[in-house]
Symmetry: C2
Subunit: 355 residues, 2 copies
């Protein structure tokens, strides 16, 4: 029914195999036949059937992606949209397309991936950090199927190609920024500890405090969801403390927005009474009131580089495993103010105990 390679071959008066070679731009084809065949293709409006092609050549020029299910919080976060954008750009540049599926639960997701992989729909996979990952990763490694993960894998990070930020350093710097501003009572508002991002960033936070000889206070470390609500709850708790912090580091802009709005409701002025440093630097952060000082982690690049390295792996299976670190940069806006630093011994009296 549709025009096939045979039709082209017939019109150009060559064998189908020759047409195939012309498409693949094979070297051993004379310029003359090339022209002849191309003209025939043009004339018939021929476009190769990708399924047949994939079947025969065992490759699809497609990378797979499992999306968070639509109920998932991640989807709400501009982070996702941005990383998708990077992936999209990376695929496009390399003439790859993207194949997406969703799973409502971990097992659904797992099955979806199996269908993609065994069904030969995709040549490789990009994994967004999540909790299912583990089973998935071991499955993919067992099959020696190309994949890269965005974020740091929980296990065997050295053996898995992944692209990530240097989250501990980034958070250390963010915290030091606040310390330089004179802050000593700095609270940390993070996401679930099941996520490596949180672990790393919490680590960076502690490193900064330790380095500055500031005691770490457990009440100042809170965990919520990567959502506005998460930020709101955290702030309520913090503001109920006897020793209110003078500044906050928040691991996500959306959470920070929640923080801001709750602070506003409580009548606490930002940055006059409390300073806020946030993370991710998505569009929102410059639109809030006040605009957020936020750590830009180049989300787009996270997606872009992940795609690039995935394609490298696909096209050269011997490619060594890599860890790619995307640079970060603090973007200063108006959510922080200077603070006359408390002497450390006074902090102690205030009930700070070292962890």
């Amino acid at each position: 029914m549709a025009v096939t390679i045979r039709d082209v071959a017939k019109l150009a008066d060559v064998a189908p195999s020759t047409v195939s070679r012309v498409i693949a731009n094979h070297s051993r084809i004379s310029e003359a036949t090339k022209r002849k065949v191309k003209k025939a293709m043009e004339q018939l409006g021929y476009h190769p059937n990708q399924n047949a092609r994939s079947l025969a050549s065992q490759s699809t020029q497609t990378i797979g992606l499992v999306m968070p299910s639509s109920g998932d919080v991640v989807f709400q976060n501009p982070f996702f949209s941005m990383v998708l954008q990077g992936i999209s750009e990376g695929s496009h540049k390399n003439k790859y397309a993207m194949y997406l599926t969703t799973g409502k639960s971990d097992v659904e997701t797992f099955e979806a991936v199996i269908r993609m992989v065994q069904g030969k729909r995709v040549d490789g996979l990009i994994l967004l950090n999540s909790k299912v990952e583990d089973k998935l990763i071991s499955y993919l490694r067992r099959r020696d199927f190309p994949f890269v993960v965005i974020g740091k894998p929980f296990k065997d990070a050295e053996e898995i190609t992944h692209v990530d930020n240097d989250n501990v350093r980034a958070m250390r710097e963010a915290t030091e920024y606040l310390i330089d501003y004179g802050h000593r009572k700095i609270a940390f508002i993070g996401g679930s500890l099941e996520l490596m991002v949180t672990v790393d960033r919490l680590d960076g936070y502690k490193q900064a405090l330790n380095k500055a000889n500031i005691p770490i206070k457990n009440e100042y470390i809170l965990h919520g969801e990567f959502l506005r609500e998460g930020g709101q709850e955290a702030v309520s708790e913090l503001m109920a403390l006897e020793q209110r912090p003078t500044s906050l580091v928040v691991v996500d802009d959306l959470m920070a927005l929640g923080v801001l709005s709750t602070l506003d409701e409580l009548g606490v002025k930002v940055p006059e009474e409390i300073s806020v440093v946030s993370f991710n630097n998505v569009l929102l952060s410059e639109m809030s009131k006040p605009p957020l000082t936020s750590m830009d982690i180049n989300i787009f690049d996270l997606g872009y580089q992940a795609t690039r390295s995935l394609i490298e792996i696909i096209e050269n299976r011997a490619e060594p495993t890599k860890r790619i670190i995307i640079p970060h940069k603090l973007v200063e806006r108006q959510s922080c103010s200077h603070q006359v630093p408390l002497p450390l011994d006074e902090l102690k009296e205030d009930g700070f105990e070292n962890l």
Copy 2:
């Protein structure tokens, strides 16, 4: 190399065709063999090769989507992410997957679509309203290829299945809301007139004014991009007018955010000095200061219903063309305030001329 249908057949001691029928859950297969075959599949960890399957059966269980190129403004807008979410959900529910490509330009996009369609990669297409559409649509119609568009098509809307809001009514209502609040000087901040959304909403705006006998003032009608910057520019212009409006209808939340921030810079208080009604009701709108009164157009449903009807068309080519209208609803927040209505004749003196 991988396990094929033949392997399963051999193990279950039946013909490959029987295995195929078991997979398809064909009626003419006895329960006994079904069990036998399923056990064999299980045992071998068999998963059908989708390419082979697609090739043979001429169907992919996949719907195609062309994404805005990563530079595109649309991508910045949460609208996109939300509609994608709806599409994702719709596909998933019907056991379809999604295939994405991007084009950097109109011709690239067009070619990408051709590759998808002729390459038989997808069973149908969802089109997000944009300007290329026209060539695309006529191409798809010529080939009788299933597609639905989200938004209203520029041409032949009656002959094309599409899902949209009743944008003129929605905007009429939004404007009337302001009128009920006593406002008479109402400005319209919209996107490009090349977009049907803008056309429809502008129409609704005018209808509302006409119905209330309020003259339409050209200086009050502005067009910018669907971005924050678009809103910012528009406001600057409006505030430079001798007759400042007392309220604004803005066709997109992101624009409205720009409006808000510019207003803030100019020291104009919302809602005390100027009221703002916005559109789309994305997450942002409740996080702004003040929270935006915004028309919820159920973006998720736009995507979801589009997918549903596309799949209906795919599975029954005789499905009649439909126009699906997604309901809207004004969500009141704190960006509007009452205003003592000016008598209409006073408006006239203020230089209002009827359009």
